[in-house]
Amino acid sequence: MMEMEEFVEVKIPKSLYDRIKERVEEAGFDSVDEYVTYVLREVLASLEEEEEEVFSEEEEEKVKERLRALGYLD
């Protein structure tokens, strides 16, 4: 059968924990763990590196041609 997601422990300063704890309920979360997970995911997502689109100019020109032929572009 499937296992539930694994968890690990992370240490954060007690004072920070207490401040988060105050916010947890008003932010609509059930626990500090849940809140911290949410915030970290949000931060990581916003930090993710922009990757360059991988298609060449030639390829892009081909795509544009098709879009023009189909009437999507003038």
């Binding site: 997502a45 993710e48 544009k64 879009l67």
Partner: protein
């Protein structure tokens, strides 16, 4: 900038022409596996990056993680298991196999893993029910007993009568860029547009550069509008009621799962891969019957701060006789007695009876199109 593909990079799994020719000439050397239409469509979507970052069908660690956590094992949001089932494998892990839809070799697959699964658990976790009357559950119950995980390479597209309307993520991305749109809201649909849809779309468009209407073409249920009717109806609506430089229409092929909230997230990811920055989440999005609450899908988006596409929650629109226009519950102060709710079912009945719906329900130009078909519905 248009949205970054889910997972950072747009997947493309299409074999080079020479490799393709070689594989096709050596077809008989591969174990041959028959797949159904919906799986062939999944393969197209994997190959063209609609399902980025998936490069193939899920292996057991990802499958389990999607069921339990609504995320791939690398923590990336993913709510719908994209799996390939077989009755009894005629191949081993490590083999390369060819997947056929009818007589067409659709893809080569590198079998990484063959595993078993629990259909009831699959159903309850994805559809929140194991009621066999639910079309998604019924499908799972009919699946083979083994799942096959591994990467695919596309050999052939399925025939597509609507090829000229079907744009791939590379194409929509270039299109949005050429149109100069930086923010794009996508709308998913399987219906002929009524005034309620138009209101929701235009309300969303107010806040972004462009509106991307993306009807889903695929297997239909009896009584659904035919694909061609949906496309033609939208073309009529675009011609008469939509601003030319800020709205566009293209279709995508996809087999509906009817998984409600989970599928709403999946639909958003597909449109993120196509370049949309925003996604309209409708009332009872991707639902069926009354298995899901009307706005349950809205809540699920809270669990995905890292989705990378912004959901837009726009309430169901209705006509208010007192306001004299299309409104929603948030902005209209009047009582139910003034409200006319536009239901797809009601419109369908009127159309079947040859009765023209009032203009506050359906644009006459749209009705004209629907009426021009001898039978606009799937039999």
């Amino acid at each position: 900038m248009v949205s970054k593909p889910h997972g950072g990079k747009l997947v493309r799994r299409i074999v080079a022409e020479r490799t393709r020719e070689r594989i096709l000439s050596e077809q008989s050397e591969y174990p041959r596996v028959q797949i159904e239409h919906g799986r062939a469509i999944d393969i197209e979507n994997i190959a063209h990056g609609v399902y980025s970052p998936l490069k193939g069908f899920l292996t057991s660690d990802d499958f389990g993680s999607v069921l339990d956590n609504m995320r791939l094992s690398n923590d990336l949001p993913w709510t719908i298991p994209i799996v390939l089932d077989v009755e009894k494998p005629n191949f081993d892990e490590g083999d390369a196999i060819l997947l056929y839809y009818e007589d067409l070799p659709v893809a080569r697959m590198h079998v990484e893993e063959i595993y078993t699964y629990d259909k009831k658990e699959f159903s309850v976790k994805v559809f929140k029910t194991d009621d066999p009357a639910h079309p998604g559950v019924a499908r799972v119950m009919n699946m083979g007993d083994y799942l096959v995980g591994g990467e695919i390479e596309l050999l052939n597209e399925l025939p597509n009568p609507f090829a000229k309307y079907t744009l791939r993520p590379v194409e929509t991305r270039v299109l949005f860029k050429e149109l100069g749109w930086k923010t794009i809201v996508a709308f998913q649909t399987r219906n002929v547009p009524h005034l309620g849809h138009e209101y929701v779309q235009k309300a969303a468009l107010t806040f972004v550069d462009g509106l991307f209407i993306n009807p889903v073409l695929g297997r239909k249920k009896k009584g659904d509008y035919k694909d061609e009717v949906i496309i033609k109806a939208y073309e009529a609506l675009f011609k008469h009621y939509y601003p030319k430089d800020s709205a566009t229409l293209a279709t995508v092929r996809y087999e509906m799962r009817y998984a409600g909230p989970r599928e709403a997230i999946h639909h958003a990811i597909m449109r993120k891969n196509m370049g949309a920055t925003h996604f309209i989440v409708g009332r009872d999005h991707a639902g069926v019957g009354d298995y899901y609450g009307p706005y349950e899908a809205w809540d699920l988006f809270d669990e995905f701060p890292d989705l990378g596409i912004t959901p837009m929650f726009i309430r169901e629109a209705f006509y208010c006789r007192k306001c004299g226009g299309m409104v929603n519950a948030k902005i209209c102060p009047h009582g139910e007695e003034f409200h006319v709710h536009i239901s797809g079912t009601k419109l369908r009945k009127m159309i079947m009876a040859g009765e023209q719906p009032p203009e506050y329900m359906m644009r006459p130009e749209v009705y004209e199109v629907v009426r021009s078909f001898e039978n606009p519905f799937v039999e």
